[in-house]
């Protein structure tokens, strides 16, 4: 298969090789299939979010990302599952630092723990010599409610612009957000997406990626992902139907003709030697006076200079 040679974008992100300051993953909860019937009418379980909305993929991606990236990665955890899976990994990987933001987010136990921003939360556990780090936030949905949407958006933008005082340089920012868990309704997700340079919409095992290159060019891709039992995932690009991509060049005459359409230089020269009628050349200057009209008046001709349309009321 020729696809195996071209790397998918999700793989590029996983290997920490995508040049993008802010990658946002948006998880969408898919509705359970309509055909599914429940045995008991009174018991409607919520769809199993963890497997359907893409957070598992994000977690799996972060694990590979931490190992591949050359910079230390700090993970701000607002999800219980992420915390439980990443904390054992933290022991083995020196490049990973997990922050538990869920335990005491409002500072009820320890007033110092009260969160009022992302960077201020990291700074407490940051070694002094740290210069450049990656930041992973999983997920943004909780701080949007606890810290406030406006404040969060402003801090995210400041992180991208790297204009926060006494903070390390953030090399790359990876965030996950639940598309349906956001203040002011699901429509405000477009505000969050507006800040991101790369948006990955995860929906039903399909990732729709919109990547803004630094030059301004926008790349859109669709990739299918499959979670494997060992916690990894496999990706595969979805080949477009080809509509609109059809090359119009194939219909140019020189491409479809069975004979040679163009002329060589020698042939052009020969062609130019031929003098066609009505051609303006040195030997054949244009005649003076131009054309003349010879008219033999008829016997019944009304020959005067009167305007024949004089009687018309125009």
């Amino acid at each position: 298969m020729f696809h195996s040679t071209s790397k998918t974008m999700l793989d590029t992100i996983r290997e920490a090789k995508l040049q993008s300051p802010f990658i946002l993953f948006v998880g969408h909860t898919t509705e359970p299939p309509a055909s599914r019937t429940y045995v008991c009418d009174s018991f409607h379980p919520l769809p199993d979010c963890t497997d359907q909305n893409g957070s598992t993929l994000f977690l799996s991606l972060v694990k590979s990302y931490v190992i591949s990236s050359e910079h230390p990665t700090h993970v701000l955890c607002w999800e219980r599952k992420t915390l439980r899976q990443l904390q054992p990994l933290e022991m083995q990987t020196p490049n990973l630092c997990v922050h538990d933001c869920l335990a005491d987010f409002h500072g009820w136990i320890n007033p110092d723990q009260r969160q009022n921003g992302f960077i201020s939360t990291i700074c407490k556990k940051l070694p002094a010599n740290c210069k450049e780090i990656n930041l992973v936030i999983d997920s943004l949905s909780n701080p949007f409610f606890t810290i406030g949407l406006g404040v969060c958006l402003q801090e995210l933008q400041q992180i991208i612009n790297s204009c926060i005082d006494n903070s390390p340089k953030i090399n790359q920012l990876l965030c996950f957000v639940h598309g349906d868990m956001i203040p002011c309704g699901a429509s405000s997700i477009s505000h969050v997406k507006h800040l991101a340079s790369t948006v990955v919409d995860l929906n039903n095992q399909i990732a729709r990626i919109t990547h803004r290159k630094p030059g301004g060019h926008v790349e859109r891709k669709e990739e299918q992902f499959m979670l494997l039992s060992n916690g990894q995932f496999h990706t595969q690009p979805i080949v477009g139907t080809g509509k609109g991509m059809g090359s119009p060049n194939t219909t140019l005459p020189q491409d479809v003709a069975s004979f040679r359409v163009s002329l060589s230089d020698k042939e052009k020269e020969d062609r130019n030697k031929l003098i066609l009628p009505y051609m303006r050349t040195v030997d054949n200057p244009p005649e003076e006076g131009g054309g003349k009209v010879f008219y033999q008046p008829d016997a019944v001709d009304d020959w005067d200079d009167e305007d024949p349309d004089d009687d018309l009321d125009i």
């Binding site: 949407l149 933008q157 002011c184 405000s188 477009s190 505000h191 609109g244 119009p248 130019n272 066609l276």
Partner: protein, 387 residues
Amino acid sequence: MAALTSDGNITSFQKKGRNRIPYIQGTRQSVQNAQILVSSGAPSLDHVVGSGLPVGSILLIEEDAFGMFSKFILKYFLAEGIACEHPLFLASRDFQPNTFMKQLPVPIKVDSSISGHDLKSDDPMTIAWRYQNMRQVQSIPGSSNSGTHLGHNFDLTQFIPPEDLDTCDYTLWSEPEENDTPIGNFINPHYGLLLSKIQKRISEGQFRVQDEPSKQSILRLAIHSLGSPLWVGSSCDESLEEGVKKDLPKFLLYLRSLLRESYALAVVTVPSHLFRDPSIIKLCEYQSDMALRLESFAGSSYETNPVFKEYHGLLHIRKLGPVNTLATHVPESLDLAFKLRRRKFVIEKLHLPPELQESAQREQDDISPGKRSGLGCTSSPSSKLDF
């Protein structure tokens, strides 16, 4: 409004009063309404809005989906200001104004000898020789216009040297300062803080109409992405749109009244694609003097459409308000498209590429009409006279 009376009146009527403004660099007086015009930095954009931007007005730019081309328009606007030695004011909460200033392009040295004339010399026509001396058809509006030249062309690949930037007079705003007091009763105080900063700049720089500075100049205000997510106030979490809907038109109204009384003009970009409520952008258009909408093909299905392969996007004229006159400027065509070359931003009349395929179904039939302005020579599909 700052109208200029000069000796070069075409009519026999002579206005009384002395000529208060001798000449301001980088400006021209409008023939229609005696308004001082400055260039937006892109000559073809000037032509579209009526040979220049009137001083004292607001040009509203509705951003394209990724905000790329609206940034270029701001860059041109500011770079033109530097080329004409106009003081600048740049406000943005989305990016660092400092870095943006460093990326401003430099003007291209005018070399008129190579433009247009070299096309004639090569390849003389032998058969269709009568067409040899025909005028070149210009699809770029305004390029055939003779007369006093306003505006420069800029090279986007070259950034302005830092030492040139140091000599410029510019003010940047991204964060409110401690001692500012907001004007107006805005939901998000940042709008009021920005206004107070602008007002201070106008009065300190003596740009008010009644001021008599030693050297008159024009203040160029560039406000980027007003009403973007970064303008969401920290307190208004209950509804994003409500705050913007109240604050944004009000801000433009305040700004407009400030500009009417001063030698200043503003280009304001708004991310209109983020507003779900269409009445927000309607209100903003109402409160500004001119409004243009950029529709970029980047990332859309138009990008691969062969009809639009020459262009980067469409330009929709939303409003050209009358300034100092009863009638508005009417552009030649409303079907406009833009393309960004390395050394030029060009707005052209939209024309279709030559048809090479001999198929019954033509490519341009795929595009649904009504997306674009209906003023072209396209007939609607429901019409009985569909040919």
